[in-house]
Every structure is written in structure tokens, then in C-alpha cells.
């Protein structure tokens, strides 16, 4: 397929502008940029890009990547199209409402950009295994949730390997470009695991969400939002006992709105409107199409530079603010050397007799990890899987075997553990990389790892 693309003179003509950048030498370019007329066909043949999210940003990313010479694209999104998506998720039409976003987005871009191949995945990001993610050269993130970013970041960083001097191996770096928008503001960043800070290194950039204390909602409401959250979180359950609230059901929303309006009237609080109710209940982050266009364009340009080296890459975090005038800034954040996610991995020194069962318990008790319900993989081999049941059953017998034997008696190696942690009273899925060292095995010198000893 890919070969025929480059053979057609029509297509060559089509990419004339892009080829100017790819075929000509320059002095302000990436370190190993090697301009050549074949660079684009190589880009098209070898480079696979995954777009995570098919919402406002994701749609733009798919379109931008397809029109920037990338041919092998895949997109993953678990959502279906809603009416409220139509105004800025420009690939969707009214007749698409209810269909999976990933599938419609892929179809629309393929219809318009001939030669591009987009594989949609209508599922949760956690549903895919590491091998799935490992087949991509670049992962582009168009997400609006901190948790999802965190997860993909951990996946990409899990491929990072370190040499014996704890220097990251170049060939194991899985680059990511990440975009985010809110109203007139947005950010675009390049994450080169092991080189630039990963999402977790700079997690402080995302402050925790404001939550209202329940007693305020129940006893001393003062704002319209308090009244709405009362109707949504307290009153709904009281009245509808057991029936789940569905934010996409207009009748449910209407009910919450009218209850909130009643309560507001009772307390003399102004400002409860239907659209405000929707905004509060759905925790809607304001979005406008043009900001998505700006941010995804910046991400795509960086992806093109990562893949081809045709210009310097941004280092490493761009913020855009169009609220008051126009402000852009590139900040060079630095890595957290002790990052649990992109660092060399948490070191665990184990006795060779430690069983897998014991190992899973240790991971749960470890002060830095506190990871419960752990599934364990080593070099792509599932040692123990909590789910699905069929895999659990297949791997259960491993629990009583020593980890050392399960790891083919290597004195030290990296093990991936996935499970859940409690963060802010919320369970989140995490993936952690552990460096396991077996004590007293040849080739391993004593390490000063008092903190990690078990």
C-alpha cells in the first residue's frame, strides 16, 4: 500500500510543499536530519502514530497528521458522539450522533485524504496491552483528563530502558506530543521519556479540582453551583433511589435544573440557568474550536519534526493564552530524577526465594508504590494477571513459585506492575516499572539500597 503512494506522480504533486522541507538541507534542523527525496516515503512507510482521544483535539490531530504526510494512523477513544460535540468536533455530523467517535473520525479523514490509513479502536485505553502501544513510533494525546494522560504517559515510559550507568537508551524512548485546551488557553508539549520531563514529573501543573464540601451543599448553599450540586448529588438519590443519573439524558438534566432552581429560590440565590446547570453537572471545560486548532497544529508540527528532524524540536512546553491579547511562552521544564514513572524504576532488592505472591504483597505495602490488585509482567510475559478471569486462572499457579525462577533466573531486570492506587479518595489505574535485583546472585554487587530492602 505505502509503496504505491510514492509511485503516483499525483500524490507526489500533492505533497509538494511538505517535500520542500524534507528534501532540502538547513542549518536550524534536528541533529540527524538527512534531507532526501525519499524522506517522505519513509515517513509514510515506517512511522506509525497513535492518536489518543477523538474529541475536539483528537479530530484536529488526525486531520493535521494526515495532511502532514503521516499515513499509518490509529485512533483510540471510548466515547460515542453527542449532539454537543458537533459544533467543534468538525468531523462529526448530526447523523453520526450515537456512533463511536473513533470510527467516524477515522472514516471521515480517510474519505477526504486519499492514501491515509486510520485504524479506529472503540475502547478504553486500559483495554489495550503494552504490545499494542509499543508498535507506535509517536503517541499524540488529545485528552481532557488528567487520569488518562497519566496512564498513557506511564505506558510510554514503561518502554524506557536504562543501561548499566542508568542512562536512558535512545532506542527505547517513545516520544509523545500532548495537547490540552480550556477556553482561549491551551498547552502543547513534547515528552521524550528519559530526556524531557514526563507527565508525572510535572504533575503539579494540574491542580486538583475544586470540590464543594457536602455540608455546604446541604446546609449553607450560597451560589448557584451549590444549589445545582445539591440537586445533582444529594436530591437525585433521595428521590430516584438507585436509578443512576445520566448527564446525557435531557430529562434528567431538566429535573436537576428545576430542583436547583427551586432550592435557589428558597435561599434567595440567583444565577441558576439550564446551561449553567449543564456546565456544572457535566463539569464542562469550556472549549472553542480555534484553540483546539492551534494546539493540535503545534503538536502535529512537533510530531513531524520528531519523525523527520526537519527542524529543531520545541523544548519542551508551550503555553498559549488568547484571553487578554495573546501570550505564548515556551518553558523548558526539567525532569524529576526520582520520578516513579520515567526514572530508572523503583528498585526492589529481593531474596531469590521470594514468591510471586509475596512480591505482590510487597508492592502493595511499599511506601512509594502502594499498589493494590497488582498484575505482573516480565519482558512481555504475563506472570500474574488479575483479569480477565481466564488469564487469572492461567497464571494463578505462578503465585507460589519464586519470582526469580519465573524471571528465568536473571540476576536483575525490569518488571512491570499494573494495579490501582488510591489518590484523592479515588481509585486510579497505574502502571509502574520496578527494577528487581536478587540478592546474593552472581554479577550483582552489594547496593546501597537500605530504603528498598525487604
Amino acid at each position: 500500500m505505502a509503496g504505491s503512494l510514492t509511485g503516483s506522480s499525483d500524490c507526489g504533486n500533492r505533497w509538494r510543499d511538505l517535500d520542500r522541507l524534507l528534501t532540502r538541507p538547513g542549518n536550524i534542523v534536528g541533529p540527524i536530519f538527512d534531507p532526501s527525496p525519499e524522506l517522505r516515503s519513509e515517513l509514510q512507510q515506517y512511522v506509525r502514530v497513535l492518536v489518543v482521544g477523538a474529541g475536539g483535539l483528537g479530530c484536529e490531530l488526525l486531520k493535521d497528521l494526515a495532511l502532514s504526510g503521516f499515513v499509518n494512523l490509529e485512533v483510540i477513544d471510548m466515547d460515542r458522539i453527542e449532539v454537543s460535540n458537533l459544533n467543534r468536533q468538525f468531523l462529526f455530523r448530526l447523523q453520526d450522533v450515537g456512533k463511536p467517535k473513533a470510527e467516524v473520525a477515522a472514516k471521515r479523514v480517510m474519505e477526504r485524504v486519499k492514501g491515509v490509513n486510520i485504524v479506529p479502536h472503540f475502547c478504553r485505553i486500559e483495554d489495550k496491552d503494552l504490545d499494542f502501544y509499543n508498535k507506535f513510533n509517536i503517541i499524540a494525546l488529545g485528552l481532557d483528563s488528567v487520569e488518562a494522560r497519566s496512564y498513557i504517559n506511564a505506558v510510554a515510559c514503561s518502554f524506557l530502558e536504562y543501561d548499566s550507568d542508568d542512562n536512558p537508551r535512545d532506542e527505547s524512548k517513545k516520544p509523545m506530543v500532548d495537547g490540552g485546551t480550556e477556553g482561549f488557553k491551551g498547552h502543547a508539549r513534547v515528552i521524550m521519556p528519559g530526556e524531557t520531563p514526563c507527565f508525572e514529573c510535572t504533575i503539579w501543573l494540574f491542580p486538583p479540582q475544586v470540590k464543594f464540601p457536602l455540608c455546604t451543599l446541604a446546609e449553607t448553599p450560597r451560589t448557584a453551583a451549590h444549589c445545582i450540586e445539591y440537586a445533582h448529588l444529594i436530591k437525585w438519590d433521595e428521590v430516584h433511589g438507585g436509578k443512576a443519573f445520566d448527564a446525557d439524558d435531557p430529562e434528567h438534566m431538566q429535573w436537576v435544573y428545576s430542583e436547583a432552581a427551586k432550592r435557589a429560590e428558597l435561599f434567595g440565590i440567583p444565577g441558576v440557568t439550564y446551561s449553567f446547570t449543564q456546565g456544572v453537572v457535566k463539569n464542562i471545560i469550556p472549549a472553542i474550536a480555534s484553540t483546539n486548532a492551534i494546539i493540535s497544529a503545534a503538536c502535529t508540527l512537533e510530531a513531524l519534526k520528531i519523525a523527520s528532524g526537519c527542524s529543531k524540536t520545541m523544548s519542551n512546553y508551550l503555553t498559549y493564552n488568547g484571553l487578554e491579547g495573546l501570550h505564548t511562552k515556551v518553558t523548558e521544564f526539567v525532569r524529576d530524577k526520582d520520578c516513579l514513572v520515567c526514572g530508572p524504576g523503583t528498585l526492589l532488592e529481593l531474596d531469590p526465594s521470594t514468591t510471586l505472591q509475596k512480591f505482590i504483597e510487597l508492592v502493595g505495602d511499599h511506601p512509594k508504590l502502594q499498589l493494590s490488585k497488582a498484575s505482573v509482567t516480565h519482558r512481555g510475559k504475563n506472570l500474574y494477571m488479575q483479569a480477565p478471569p481466564v488469564l487469572e486462572e492461567m497464571t494463578r499457579s505462578n503465585l507460589n513459585l519464586p519470582l526469580y525462577e519465573l524471571m528465568d533466573k536473571v540476576p536483575k531486570d525490569v518488571v512491570h506492575v499494573s494495579g490501582t492506587v488510591n489518590k484523592d479518595d479515588k481509585k486510579t489505574s497505574v502502571l509502574r516499572k520496578l527494577r528487581v535485583v536478587f540478592k546474593g546472585i552472581d554479577g550483582v554487587t552489594d547496593m546501597d539500597t537500605a530504603n528498598h530492602l525487604f
Binding site: 500533492r14 510543499d17 511538505l18 522541507l21 538541507p25 538547513g26 542549518n27 534536528g30 541533529p31 540527524i32 538527512d34 532526501s36 527525496p37 524522506l39 516515503s41 519513509e42 512507510q45 484536529e60 486531520k63 495532511l67 449532539v83 454537543s84 459544533n87 467543534r88 468538525f90 477526504r112 485524504v113 504490545d131 509499543n134 508498535k135 513510533n137 527505547s172 524512548k173 482561549f184 449553607t220 450560597r222 451549590h226 435561599f267 434567595g268 440565590i269 449553567f276 456546565g279 469550556p286 472549549a287 472553542i288 474550536a289 480555534s290 486548532a293 508540527l301 519523525a307 528532524g309 527542524s311 520545541m314 508551550l318 488568547g322 484571553l323 487578554e324 491579547g325 495573546l326 505564548t328
Partner: protein, 665 residues
């Protein structure tokens, strides 16, 4: 292509494994390995990619060459589209035919009664017309930026649902739920129509960077195809098109532009841009120009003056007047006993009351002064803390955090000072509503306001009993209402004085003005020609010497230089591979000449940047175009809605390290 190698690359391990990871420039390595693999292969090498030199390149340099091409296209066009006639009048400037610039625009028509607007349409305030122009034959791929400006505008500007009755508008309301939180009160500015102006025919190379076109468009009218896609995007907006070159319109029919609210001009070279700027200024039409060129581009706004009432800044100190409480607020605070023994009441006294009372107490023991030094401020915080009777009293914690507010300077800010002392405040019968209200505001501040602006009237959420909070709200609202009435009286008097209908400005408008009085903003823009001929030398030197700005100011000069180059050589630099080496010194000399003209004699531009500019060869990358188009759309939204603050100066996109800059020259 070597099949064995390809198989290897596809398989998940072995030789293919390293291909899964990609460092910058890794492709080059991949190719090297491939080349070495190929050298052992007996298969023929893959066909080489053609260089993009027109087949008849030698004759292409002749000035007459473009005309037949145009004629040919026109014939094709004639067959497909009856409205060819208008293109027939487009100027046939042969020297332009080789430019790689295609120009495009869109326009927003503000006149509801204009022929373009549908009389059956209820009061949609604005009609948008947009146009793409491209008189140049050599390449039309530049369209993408502009199309994206358009696409984003259609998506973002058509919010007309807020004012509609809920039941009948359920669907549009849902459709825009996210936007409604950004731009409230959008009822008055839904875009009625957009008109695309472009005189060109879609070619295959246009498909490489314009999502609005697909293969079926090739050979058809660019304007018509883009328009059809726009209409599909949003059927609530009327999408229109004019198949004519914008340059032709600028030359022959300048009054054409006066029907619009906003013109977005894309990929216009300097001479046409300056002419269009003059036309738009004269007719008071807002102009946004956007340019995408290789890894750079620019966005600039041009109009005489843009005034904003609802500037909606991100961080703005609330208007609680704790530094200068008025009588009713003091009285209300006095009615509340901080020493109450009821712990529930104690922990629900709003911090506003706590601070008013504590400031009073402090002033009494400090000769009527409020805390000002760092020491005093710290002592004041300690005083507040000493009044806590339990550790969980959030209201006291809030009071400590907000204690700085009692020391804030009284009176109006310097930016407000500047606005009320602007020459426009001397109003006459031609003054805008905005300046009439500013004149009233100035009088208010000098009289009823005692040096302060009208009170905003809203208070932030704070720990409090509902009753106490609502009462406090009422006190703030009452003061805001009284201030508003005073301003309103003055507005009516001023209107009478300047010989206009005294109720010309609605109550609601004045109220809105008062609520935002501290945040009003005035943006003014120099004519582009003036900036080009006499930029601020001081700023120019500053940018040239600032490392963070050096690439951006370099691109600013080089973007002008490529236009001057094009005017001299009938093409942009670096279009042909064969002339790349000669073009670099030519462009360098042109850029240097511009710097000299501006009086920056000692400055030289980075050699590498000039080389890079030649490397681009006028290419328009989709990603760059999408970025520029997005910026232009954001600014268009701000201009049309008169909400938020548009940029001033010239935004220079820097696609090399993304250190874009706003240059104010």
C-alpha cells in the same frame, strides 16, 4: 523496495524492533540501513520523487507564460461554472503569475439590511462573508491556512442560541454547551453568513494541505468547493462564494468591502495588503491579515480603534472595597458580633465582615491608619488569628488569606486613569456609545464616586451562613445599583448635551458598563503602511538584541523581504531547487536593504534563518496554516463579540522552536 527488509520491518521483533522507537532524525538512520540493505538487492530502486519544477521551466520565466495558463484554466472553469464572467475581469498581471502566493479572505458583513442577508432571518447581528482569492497560477496550495481560518470561524462564531427559548432550541443549546460558558450573552453576535472569495481552480497540490477539498474538487472552483464544505459544517450559517480574485477586487472595486463587518485576508503580498488596509480603515471595517510561509507566518489586526467593555480577564481582584468601605457595609459589619459565644455562628461570619471590623479595630489603635508595612501586615494577620475560637474556622482562614485586600491602594488603576483622560472622552455627536459612557464614568469618579469607579456589585463565594451571605450580597448590589443610577443620569445628560436622543443607550448597556468599569479596554492599531515605513526603532533594536525575540524579528523582516523579492523576481525565493543557491544571497541582500531602510544599519539577520527562509520556497505546511488560522479565528471571535481583549501588534509564528512573539512596532 526490498521485500525482505519490509517484512523485517513489519514483524514485531528482530530487525524491526528498533523501528518502533524513533528519535529525532531516526528516519535518516532507517534510510541508511535500508540503502545498505538495498545495495545487496537485485530489485530496482523505487522511483525517485520528482522535483517540482514545472515541465516547461525555461519558458516559465518569461513574463508572457502565465497568460495562456490562465486562459486554459478559464476555459475549464467556463464549462463547469456559469459564473465565470466575474473572473473575466480579474487583472491579468503577468508578472504575478509566478508568485507562489495565493490570497484569500473572508468577510463578515455587519449590515443586517444588506442584500446579502436574508430578510426573513431574525436579528442575527452579523453576516459573515468570506473570500478566498488566488490570482496566482503557479501554486494554490496556500489555501489551507485560510480555509482553516474559515472553518474555525464557522464552528466558533455561530453561537446564536443563548437568547432563544429553551424548549424550541434544545438541540442548538446542547450543541454549544461548552461555548456558552466561555462567551455568555452570545445572542447578539451570531454570524449570519460567510462569503468565500477565490478566483482559482482546485489543483491536485491543493489536496495536500486543505482538508476542505477532496479529489472530486479537482478542476472545480476553489471558492465553490470550500463553501460547500463550510455549509456542511454548519447549516445555521449562510455560506456564500464569489469566484473572483481578491487582488482584482481590491484594485477595481474597493467599495465591495464596505458591506462587511470583518475581512480576513490571507496570503496577501505587501502591495495588495497595504491597499486593502487603506480601504478597510476608510470604511471602518475590521481587518485581520494572516500569512503562512514555511515554518513561519503572521497574524495582525488592523483597525482604528477597538473598545472592550467585557474584557473578562483571567485574574482580576474582586471589588469588595475592603480598603474603603462605605457606610452601609460598615453598619452591616457593626451589626454582627465577632465575640459571639455560639461556635456555629462564629464559624459562619463571612470574612468580609471580619476584615471590615478588624481593619476598624486596627485603625483605632494606629492613628486611623491601615497596615501598610510588611511588619504591620503580618501583625494584622496575627490579630485576625487571635480571634479564632476553633481550629476548623474556614472563615478566619479566608480572612487571613484576603487580609491584603484592606491595604490595596484606593482609587482607580493607572490603565483606567489613562482611558478616562484619553482625548476621545471629549465627546461630541459623532462619539461612540463607549466613549459617551466613559465620559459619564469620568464625571462619576470625580463626583459621586469619590475617586472610585462604580461598584461591581458581585461578591465571591465565601464561608458563611446562607442568610448572612445573601444579606451581604444585597448590600453590595444596592450600592452597585445606586452607582449605576448615578452613572446613568450622567450618561443621559451627556447625550442631551451632545445633541442626541437621551435614551439612545439602553439601561442594560449602561449597567453592563458599570459592572465592568474597572476592566474596560481600548485597543488601537497603527495603519500597516505606517508601521512598515516607520516602525518604532527603539522596539526594533530591543527585539533585534533580545535572544528570545531574535528569530521572531528575523522572520518579521524576512516575511517582508520575500514579498519584496517576489516583486523583483516575480517569484518567491527558493521555489526552484536549481536556483536555491543564487536565491540565498539575493534574499539576504533584500532583507538587509529593508533593515537599512528602517534605519537599523548595524543589524544583520541570522544567516541560518535567511537560508531556512529560502529552503521553505513559499511552502505552506498544513500544520503551520492550521496554527495561523486558529490564531486568526480566536482574534476574530474577540473582535466580533467585543468580549475579551484582542492582540495588539504583529504575532509572528516561529515554527522552529515555537518561541512565537508578539511584536509591537
Amino acid at each position: 523496495m526490498n521485500r525482505r527488509l519490509r517484512r523485517l520491518c513489519r514483524s514485531g521483533n528482530g530487525g524491526g524492533l528498533y523501528l518502533k522507537y524513533l528519535r529525532p532524525g531516526a528516519l535518516a538512520q532507517i534510510r541508511d540501513s535500508k540503502i545498505s540493505a538495498r545495495s545487496h538487492s537485485t530489485r530496482a530502486p523505487p522511483p525517485k520523487i520528482l522535483l517540482y519544477r514545472p515541465p516547461s521551466s525555461p519558458s516559465n520565466n518569461g513574463p508572457n507564460n502565465g497568460a495562456p495558463q490562465i486562459a486554459q484554466i478559464s476555459v475549464v472553469d467556463l464549462e463547469g461554472f456559469p459564473c465565470f464572467a466575474s473572473r473575466g475581469f480579474a487583472p491579468r498581471c503577468p508578472q504575478r503569475k509566478k508568485l507562489v502566493a495565493a490570497k484569500s479572505f473572508f468577510f463578515v458583513n455587519s449590515n443586517p439590511g444588506s442584500p446579502g442577508s436574508d430578510s426573513g432571518e431574525p436579528d442575527l447581528g452579523v453576516d459573515v462573508i468570506m473570500g478566498i482569492l488566488s490570482p496566482c497560477v503557479v501554486s494554490k496550495q496556500q489555501r489551507s491556512k485560510q480555509s482553516f481560518a474559515i472553518e474555525n470561524l464557522v464552528e466558533a462564531l455561530t453561537l446564536s442560541s443563548e437568547a432563544q427559548p429553551l424548549a424550541s432550541m434544545a438541540e442548538p443549546k446542547t450543541k454549544y454547551d461548552r461555548q456558552l460558558r466561555v462567551v455568555e450573552k452570545s445572542c447578539s453576535w451570531g454570524v449570519g453568513s460567510i462569503t468565500v472569495i477565490d478566483g482559482s481552480i482546485v489543483e491536485i497540490k491543493d489536496l495536500g494541505n486543505n482538508f476542505m477539498l477532496d479529489e472530486s474538487c479537482v478542476g472545480q472552483s476553489m471558492a465553490k468547493c470550500v463553501c460547500a464544505f463550510l455549509q456542511e459544517l454548519n447549516d445555521a450559517v449562510k455560506a456564500k462564494f464569489v469566484e473572483e480574485s481578491p487582488e482584482a477586487l481590491i484594485e477595481t472595486n474597493p467599495s465591495f468591502f464596505s458591506q462587511f463587518t470583518l475581512v480576513v485576508a490571507t496570503q496577501l503580498v505587501e502591495a495588495s495588503l497595504l491597499r486593502l488596509d487603506r480601504i478597510c480603515r476608510q470604511a471602518n471595517i475590521m481587518l485581520i491579515c494572516a500569512r503562512s510561509y514555511g515554518l513561519t507566518g503572521l497574524v495582525r489586526i488592523s483597525l482604528k480603534e477597538h473598545t472592550v467593555i467585557e474584557s473578562k480577564p483571567d485574574h482580576f481582584l474582586d471589588d469588595l472595597r475592603l480598603n474603603n468601605p462605605w457606610l452601609e457595609l460598615k453598619r452591616f459589619s457593626e451589626s454582627i458580633d465577632l465575640n459571639t459565644t455560639d461556635p456555629v455562628v462564629h464559624k459562619h461570619i463571612p470574612y468580609v465582615v471580619i476584615l471590615v471590623k478588624m481593619a476598624e479595630e486596627w485603625a483605632q489603635s494606629h492613628n486611623g491608619r491601615l497596615p501598610s508595612s510588611r511588619e504591620e501586615k503580618r501583625a494584622f494577620k496575627e490579630l485576625i488569628k487571635s480571634k479564632m475560637i476553633a481550629l476548623d474556622e474556614d472563615n478566619y482562614k479566608e480572612a487571613v488569606e484576603a487580609s491584603f485586600k484592606i491595604s490595596a491602594p484606593q482609587g482607580i488603576s493607572s490603565s483606567m486613569h489613562q482611558i478616562i483622560n484619553d482625548h476621545s472622552v471629549e465627546v461630541d455627536s459623532t462619539s461612540s456609545d463607549f466613549w459617551v459612557m466613559v465620559a459619564a464614568l469620568k464625571e462619576f469618579i470625580a463626583n459621586e464616586g469619590n475617586g472610585e469607579a462604580p461598584l461591581e456589585g458581585s461578591i465571591p463565594d465565601m464561608t458563611s451562613s446562607t442568610e448572612c451571605y445573601v444579606n451581604l450580597q444585597k448590600i453590595y448590589q444596592a450600592k452597585a445599583e445606586a452607582d449605576f443610577l448615578a452613572v446613568e443620569r450622567r450618561v443621559r445628560n451627556i447625550l442631551k448635551r451632545i445633541g442626541r436622543e437621551s435614551n439612545l443607550i439602553s439601561k442594560a448597556s449602561i449597567k453592563n458598563f458599570c459592572r465592568n468599569a474597572r476592566k474596560i479596554t481600548v485597543c488601537r492599531y497603527r495603519p500597516i503602511e505606517e508601521e512598515f515605513n516607520s516602525p518604532s526603532l527603539l522596539e526594533m533594536q530591543k527585539y533585534l538584541n533580545d535572544e528570545d525575540c531574535s528569530i521572531a524579528i528575523g522572520f518579521y523582516i524576512l516575511l517582508r523581504a520575500v514579498d519584496r523579492f517576489a516583486a523583483n523576481y516575480n517569484r518567491f525565493p527558493g521555489i526552484y531547487d536549481g536556483e536555491l543557491d543564487e536565491d540565498i544571497p539575493r534574499l539576504k541582500a533584500t532583507a538587509q536593504a529593508i533593515l537599512n531602510d528602517l534605519g537599523c544599519n548595524g543589524s544583520t539577520l541570522m544567516e541560518d534563518l535567511t537560508n531556512d527562509m529560502c529552503r521553505y520556497g513559499g511552502a505552506e505546511l498544513h500544520a503551520v496554516a492550521a496554527f495561523i488560522g486558529g490564531v486568526a479565528s480566536q482574534e476574530a471571535i474577540k473582535l466580533i463579540t467585543k468580549q475579551f481583549v484582542p492582540m495588539t501588534g504583529t504575532f509572528i509564528f516561529n515554527g522552529i522552536d515555537q518561541k512565537s512573539q508578539l511584536l509591537i512596532l
